[in-house]
Amino acid sequence: MVLDVQIEKKLPDFELNVAFTASEAPFSILGPSGAGKTMLLRCISGLERPDQGRIALKDRVLFDSEQNIRIPARRRRIGMVFQNYALFPHRTVEENVAFGLHQLSSEERAARVKALIERTHLKELANRYPRELSGGEQQRTALARALAIDPEALLLDEPLSALDTHLRSQVEAHLQEVFSTYQRPTLLVTHNIEEAYRLGERLLVLSRGRMAAYGSKEGIFRHPPSREVGQLTGCKNFSRARMNADGTVEALDWGCRLRVDQAISKPPAYVGIRAHHIDFLEARTGDDAPENVFPCWLVRASETPFRETLYLRLRPHGEEGAYDLQAEVFKEKWERFRDVPCPWHVRLSPESLFLMPE
């Protein structure tokens, strides 16, 4: 089963313009708030009408602006889990789940609801009202309700963002369990980089309504196609770049010459490296300067619970507060070299560096 989407829609600030295909594997749509992610899901589910394009699910055309096809939401059979869950407050968990099974006989309906409620671990809560549930329980109810109609595709809008941190991993595990048995197009919208990576197989990065990247998540995270996607996938370090005749890369902002493993067809505009990929050499071996190793000076450090974020300059002097690199190291390692006087030495390993043509 395949979901084919190719739509355009004018929004107040920008135009939503996407084209992608989602197969059985979970598909993450990552983007900052206001990138048009929710609008995209609403167009697919039939709650909003695109200006132009085509949406097809398996062999059914759900929307086609040229052929004037517009199947209403109620006949699309697309399960939608809303960001705030949109549970019916006047109906119990069981009644919420049963809502979409209106056309079945009461025995059939009862059997389906019972199976779903067991599968989503809601058995003890079947007679509760939504307001009597925790966030995680509400989320499971919303998911069970969407799955009840045996949807041909499942859309989840920020399924974890309304939950407390300690609940997230639990709900995430539950989502993964459901995804593994569902095996139909599953679109998951999120602004959280790690959720997008963990829950999706493929990834679409959306920025102001435009597809900034689309493909396998490993590929996009390893070699972001543009500086923008690099930033959206959490990379902190970028430098303008120029290719040298000998195949090395000149990092213009960092003022250094780098060897980079990645082969690139277009000339690079930027070179980047992720903060946790920056390697600190605790003892310099020998006198010859090893490849991609540079002296650095600490500008400032900031603490997170388990890691230390270090802002580094690759030159001994510079403008007050300005830095070239942002690095992350585990506390244990930081404790070992924090008292060693600068310059320290960092290695920007050739396999961690990536090049971006734009």
């Binding site: 697309i78 019916f88 407050p89 509760r128 009202y129 307001r131 969407a146």
Partner: protein, 226 residues
């Protein structure tokens, strides 16, 4: 003692409220899905009976339903006249109570979170089912309040009723009209009596409904019990 004003008042108010409930709700639902400057004018017209003196409303109704009025002529073709008959009391009560139903029902429907209606649609529900099973139950406290207000307004209707239905004992004489003519005839005993009856009916109705709406609510009883 002739009890007919009580029955006429109740029959008129119940009938008018039933019509108002259905038409007011339908108008509110329809209006929620359509918008435009022309409809703002329509809103104004629908709400006019609330601010106009009942005598003005009654006079307009008389022009409309009278022998030479457009609706009156239409009815004459079926050999029916409305003016100075029991249906006229219903028409007067309906027109004056309609705005209260319409405003409260619209406000109540607007309060229902659109996401809930959309969720119902993605679950395969028809528009009718979305309204009957989601929008209406959630807007119900407001709709009920509108119904109570409309009933109270219909029960107390005097001016427009007198204009279009007159005072025909046993046919169009409602309690407020009976009171007015009792005072006119200097029958203070009788006027006091009807006033007392009116207060008792209204008080019983309002306090009963108020109590009932307070005890409604999803999961409220259990939450308190826990």
């Amino acid at each position: 003692m002739d009890w007919s004003p009580v029955w006429i008042s109740l029959a008129t108010s119940v009938t008018a409220t039933a019509i108002t409930l259905v038409v007011g709700l339908a108008a509110a639902v329809w209006r929620e899905r359509h918008s435009g400057p022309a409809l703002a004018l329509l809103d104004g017209i629908l709400l006019l009976p609330l601010v106009l003196p009942p005598t003005v409303v009654g006079f307009f109704l008389l022009l409309l339903f009278g022998r030479h009025g457009p609706l009156g002529k239409l009815l004459l073709r079926f050999d029916a006249t409305v003016v100075f008959s029991w249906p006229a009391t219903v028409i007067a009560a309906t027109v004056v109570s309609f705005p209260l139903m319409y405003i409260t029902a619209r406000a109540a429907l607007e309060q229902v979170e659109p996401g809930l209606l959309q969720a119902a649609r993605t679950l395969g529900a028809s528009e009718w089912r979305v309204f009957r099973e989601i929008a209406l139950p959630l807007a119900w406290p407001g709709v009920l309040a509108g119904t109570i207000l409309s009933f109270a307004r219909a029960l107390g209707e005097f001016g427009a009723t007198l204009m279009i239905a007159g005072n025909i004992p046993g046919r169009t004489e409602t309690i407020p009209i009976a009171i007015y003519f009792a005072v006119e005839a200097d029958d203070i005993q009788r006027a006091l009596y009807w006033c007392a009856v009116d207060v008792v009916i209204s008080l019983a109705l309002l306090s009963g409904l108020y109590y009932w709406t307070r005890t409604q609510g999803f999961g409220r009883a259990r939450r308190l019990a826990r």
